[in-house]
Amino acid sequence: MFDPEKLIRKGLPKGYLKDIVVRLFLGGITYLIVVIAVLLFAKIISDGAPALFTSKFPFVDTEFLTARNETLHVFDDLQGTRHQLPASRYNEYLAAHPGEAIYNEHTFSYSGGGIAGPIVGTALLTVGSIILALFFGVSAAIYLAEYAKQSPFIHAVRLAILNLAGIPSIVFGLFGFSVFVLAVPVITATPSDRTLLAIPLFLNDWVLSFQGWNSSLIAGCATLACMILPVIITASEESLRAVPQGFRDASLAMGGTRWQTIRKCVLPYSLPGILTSSLLAITRVAGETAPIMFTAAVAAKDDLPWQGLSNPFGILSSQVQALPYHIYTLAARIPNSEYTQRAQYGSVLVFLILVAILSSGSMVLRAKMRSNLKW
């Protein structure tokens, strides 16, 4: 017979103090991380806000977002007023004040105008790479999840895909350079001299020439797609597996073929997961510099990608500017001064806001799609 009196506690519960200490410690670390994150964002916002936000309606410097990138000319005029003008307005000024003297002129590359070029370039790269990655990635995921029999070989395949995720992005850049820029086949009538292999096609003088796509949008998209492929494949496979087996059983038991079952009873329900992963991949792709450095990006470009093209597909073979690359250029490749800072911090803030919008978009979309599906 136990003594019921022992049920009554005397004093503090056992391990009470230890519990409190551990709690405070872990909580402190957590909040410290929050503080660091807040400081990070605060610094970026406070540095970039003067460049991006204005005091007048619409409170955002639209010129910064929509004008092309130009060299900044800083000079004093006769009266000693300091002017900071992007190249196009500088030329206008010169035309408007012919013969006037200009004093203390400095030029700062990439620091004038706006960042429309990089924004557009990043958008094109992102969209292109996602399309490629989704096509290849979801196809592979469907095969791995639904068709492949579990064998050591398939395990090795999965391992290989996962390993892709660990490869440094600069290595991807070099890979993209040596493969997509220099070696992939192209159908052309005029093969270049450095082609690795030229196979005549006996049609219109066309030749299948392994000469690469040159530094271009398509090469950059392909490289970036390779980079996010493991994420897309893994997440898509997860979402396919998460669809209840009962759906497949029921469909097969009613006489459906394998592909009918996948198309009608599995794929529609795995879409939220696939979309979530692709949106996460977007945020990653938007921010990568190394893979696009050798394959697509160029620091200065006068036209937007769709301008000055001979045919609509030319857009794929043109080079582009990109936001992360632009930030790198501003920070590392030109000397620092107060005039370049506006462009630098402004670009960083815009980039951050872009990523934030994409991330929250992904969360909203995911929540909305998830709530529609109940099983």
């Binding site: 029921a250 038991a253 009613m254 006489g255 099983w375």
Partner: protein, 252 residues
């Protein structure tokens, strides 16, 4: 009444593990045949052989013996598997309506068979839902999600889904295992009505279910068929002592 399914000396294995040993029985047409037995006795495996849904499990195969449905060997190499599964429908233990509307669930089998005519689909849906005793309850919300129904209704929806393609045989693998007693009785009442049109094979570990709604009962144990006969005879006076021991609860 003819024989719908002839099972002859069927041996079945999952990989190296033998699960069915020399099972032989005839399942009569337009009657309810129940399979009872303790867990792992092979009753589910056996009925899953009838519509060959075990095919999708790697390593699972019939190692000897044959199954004929209306005199056609279902393991012949030129068998139209999709047609077999349309003629032999299956209702699962865990009801699994697709996360679509009620209407889409019921017409799914017809859609994948290639029926596109909307009027035809509507008719078939109404007929199937009426046969499943569900029409009155859902006719005003055909296009709402199927997951909004109660458990018993969802299982009846799965039954409607199966009978929409007008099969000959309906296999039921413990259809009431996940349902409360009232929903169970409704489904049993449904089974008693359906047997006028379909041959029904039902696996159950609830012996009262077998006594209530089946005409013939087969008792299986450790992969072997121990006794098979008229339900009342099996439960009033079983011939095999193992059967008696099981149904009186002398062992589990």
């Amino acid at each position: 009444m003819g024989t719908a399914i002839q099972i002859r000396n069927v041996n079945f294995a999952y990989g190296a593990k033998r699960v069915l040993h020399d099972v032989t029985l005839d399942i009569p047409d337009r009657q309810v045949t129940a399979f009872i037995g303790p867990s792992g006795c092979g009753k589910s495996t056996l009925i899953r052989c009838i519509n060959r849904i075990n095919d999708r499990i790697p390593g699972a195969r019939v190692t000897a013996g044959s199954i004929h449905i209306h005199d056609i060997d279902i393991h012949r190499p030129d068998l139209n598997l999709q047609e077999l599964r349309r003629r032999v429908g299956m209702v699962f233990q865990k009801y699994n309506p697709f996360a679509k509307s009620i209407y889409e669930n019921v017409v799914y089998g017809l859609r994948i068979a290639g029926v596109k005519n909307r009027a035809e689909l509507d008719d078939a849906a109404e007929k199937a839902l009426t046969s499943a005793a569900l029409w009155d309850e859902v006719k005003d919300r055909l296009h709402t999600s199927a997951t909004g129904l109660s458990g018993g209704q969802q299982q009846r929806l799965c039954i409607a889904r199966v009978i929409a393609t007008e099969p000959d045989i309906v296999l039921m693998d413990e259809p009431c295992a996940a349902l409360d007693p009232l929903a169970t009785l409704k489904i049993e009442e449904l089974i008693t009505e359906l047997k006028q049109k379909f041959t029904i094979v039902i696996v159950t570990h609830n012996m009262s279910q077998a006594t209530r709604c089946s005409d013939r009962t087969a008792f299986m144990y450790l992969g072997k068929l121990i006794e098979y006969g008229e339900t009342l005879q099996i439960f009033e006076n079983p011939k095999n002592p193992q059967t008696e021991a099981y149904i009186t609860g002398a062992f589990g």
